[in-house]
């Protein structure tokens, strides 16, 4: 009786979650895939339950086959959900047809003897032997679950902000299934006898996955897992206290338990309310921050359009597309061009800072050779060094491992540091050294320039911070470059710092990145 009641409760909760999520946005493919995952999950749980119940053997055999068939569609929609969550992904038609065809075929074959055969009953449990296509069936199940989770994990690593939290919730749900079902259904049955009611808990843990995924899709209290956990905790203690009231040995104990329950309800309510308020405040702050980033993103885009036109036409004028310019005009035009470049850089930097501050700066990691990036930057800046009669050397190691980095970001860091070194150096030059130090890759950029005072060193990597030499040598900049460089290096779990023996003694900037 208890197991049937539990089954009804689980099915009711699953249906409720499925209906709420589906009807929140029925036209959205993600909601549809999730709805279908729950639908086939319910069929799978039901067939799994009835195949082990003392009913007619013909029905039990049918339910066992239906158990296998529904599992195929359950994992298919789970896979499609993982591929498309949190954002829809484009799939080529051929790929879609293949996966649907395979799933349909395995669904139908589940009712034949090709997947499972020789179904028999041992004591009260139902048993079978593997059919000739069992391993293909098994591989498909593994592909869908493994592929789906792998995809979610890789998206989790690359995502930021709300999306990252959404994926985390889904992964949390999946982790709960693994933690509950693996020992109950896979490990312990090999060692000891597990009663059916307990073994079923592994299957019922599907409810946790659906619950957390539903929170992720609907974004309910996404930033406030604390609220959900507090609600769950208060609810669980409340149920225990009610049980205590009814199981108390005497009337007076019941009264005492009743009073405790009432007091608990009052404090529980106050606790939930205060946690909720705090979360609400945090959500509001997040929203404001999001709005700020969106505004900056749109404003930057709008600014960039006229800047592109100015850059484009100026470059064409300077290239002589509209005739040869008098030397004096050309000189001034070049200055306008440089000022425009500076404006473009400023817009880019402001956009980067705003993305960094709200945690929306995304990483695109790939194995890269740092030597190539440094050489590329040096070749880009060599003209600039030559104009100032400075040397620009690169001391490279013979062998260096490729490391996992975001090429564009690390390139920007190196470019910024070498460019700064050239700007602040009037005599001598700049030397770049790449080496392995303490199992990390270290880039050292040394110059014979102005050097840094102790105070400057401390403030160097802060926003809008510029060295005093900046004004002295007419070096332009908003003081955002080193701040962004520091953030980019930290995003790679690396370290950036500067050393200088004092004013007039040159300086060395170090960047250390982990080898991975």
């Amino acid at each position: 009786m208890f197991s049937l009641l539990l089954l009804v409760l689980i099915i009711f909760l699953l249906t409720l979650i499925g209906v709420i999520v589906f009807f929140k946005n029925p036209k959205n493919k993600i909601n549809q895939y999730f709805g279908l995952t729950i639908f086939f999950g319910i069929l799978w749980i039901l067939s799994n339950y009835f195949e082990n119940e003392p009913i007619s053997e013909i029905y039990r055999i049918f339910f066992l086959k239906f158990d296998f068939a529904s599992a195929i569609l359950l994992v298919l929609f789970f896979y499609l959900f993982c591929q498309n969550f949190p954002k829809l992904k484009f799939f080529p038609l051929k790929y879609k047809i293949t996966i649907y065809f395979l799933a349909s075929l395995l669904f139908i074959l589940s009712f034949s003897d090709l997947i499972i055969k020789n179904i028999y009953f041992e004591n009260t449990t139902i048993q079978f032997t593997r059919g000739s296509l069992f391993w293909i069936y098994f591989s498909f199940i593994l592909f869908c679950i493994g592929g789906g989770l792998k995809n979610l994990i890789s998206k989790y690593k690359q995502s930021r902000g709300v999306e990252r939290l959404q994926i985390l919730y889904v992964l949390l749900g999946a982790a709960i299934i693994i933690v509950i079902a693996t020992p109950l259904n896979l490990i312990l049955p090999q060692v000891i006898f597990i009663p059916l009611e307990i073994a079923r808990m592994g299957i019922y843990s599907f409810l946790f996955f659906c619950f957390f995924t539903a929170l992720a899709i609907t974004r309910y209290h996404l930033f406030g897992i604390e609220v959900i956990l507090t609600e769950a905790l208060v609810g669980a203690i409340g149920i225990l206290l009610i049980v205590q009231i009814f199981t108390a040995p005497t009337f007076w104990w019941r009264i005492v338990n009743g009073i405790i329950f009432v007091l608990f309800c009052i404090f529980g309510y106050l606790l939930i309310r205060s946690v909720f308020k705090e979360m609400k405040l945090r959500e509001e702050t997040e929203k404001i921050s999001q709005a700020k980033t969106e505004f900056i993103s749109i404003a930057s885009h709008q600014l960039r359009t006229p800047l592109s036109a100015i850059k484009g036409y100026l470059s064409m004028i300077l290239e002589g597309s509209y005739g040869t310019l008098p030397e004096k005009v050309k000189e001034k035009m070049e200055k306008v061009f440089q000022s425009n470049e500076r404006l473009i850089k400023l817009v880019n930097d402001i956009l980067s800072v705003s993305k960094i501050e709200v945690g929306e700066m995304e990483m695109s990691l790939e194995k890269e050779d740092l030597r190539e990036i440094i050489k590329e930057v040096i070749s880009e800046l060599s003209v600039k060094a030559k104009e100032k009669n400075l040397y620009l050397k690169f001391e490279e190691p013979k062998e260096i491992p490729k490391i996992l980095i975001d090429r564009e970001k690390i390139r920007q860091v190196i470019l910024n540091l070498i460019d700064n070194a050239i700007r602040y150096t009037q005599e001598g030059g700049v030397k770049v050294k790449l080496q392995i130090v303490n199992n990390r890759l270290q880039i050292a950029i040394s110059d014979t320039g102005e050097g840094l005072s102790k105070e400057e060193k401390e403030k160097l990597f802060e926003r809008f911070s510029r060295g005093t030499a900046g004004a002295k040598f007419w070096v332009e900049g908003a003081g955002l470059g080193l701040y962004i460089a520091k953030k980019f290096v930290e995003m790679h779990k690396g370290k950036i710092w500067a050393e200088s023996e004092g004013k007039g003694k040159g300086s060395t900037f170090f960047v250390e990145l982990p080898i991975k």
Partner: protein, 124 residues
């Protein structure tokens, strides 16, 4: 003469790139939205498409999706170029087959033409 289709809704930029490309000896067709772009691509069969991402109505990513599903034009190389510097848009454009995703402010028209030439060289 190589044919370039520019899909760009900012008139000033579209005309600027057109002018520069024509000076370099290319034949240029302009389209101002995705619908026009698809029609022009089918009709003119350009050698390269220069595609803006933030277009009015449907965007450049929609164009890439439609292009990929269309047997007649799916092979034409596309260079996405936009001032919308979004990693997700970049990733999506690359996944849908764009050869490059360039930020307009970071390139002069001459540099964009170099990119076009290098892509033309690759496909020849």
């Amino acid at each position: 003469m190589k044919k370039i289709l520019i899909i760009e809704d900012e008139k000033v930029l579209a005309e600027m790139y057109k002018e520069k490309l024509e000076r370099e000896g290319f034949e240029v067709i302009l389209a101002f939205n995705v619908k026009e772009g698809i029609e022009s691509a089918k009709r003119e069969r350009p050698d390269v498409i220069l595609l803006d991402i933030l277009l009015a109505g449907e965007n450049g990513i929609d164009f890439l999706r439609k292009q990929k599903e269309n047997q007649e034009i799916f092979q034409i190389p596309v260079i996405a170029f936009s001032n919308y510097d979004d990693p997700r848009a970049k990733k999506e454009a690359k996944e849908l087959g764009a050869k490059e995703y360039l930020i307009k402010t970071n390139y002069t028209p001459t540099q964009i033409i170099e990119k076009i030439k290098s892509i033309l060289k690759q496909i020849e």
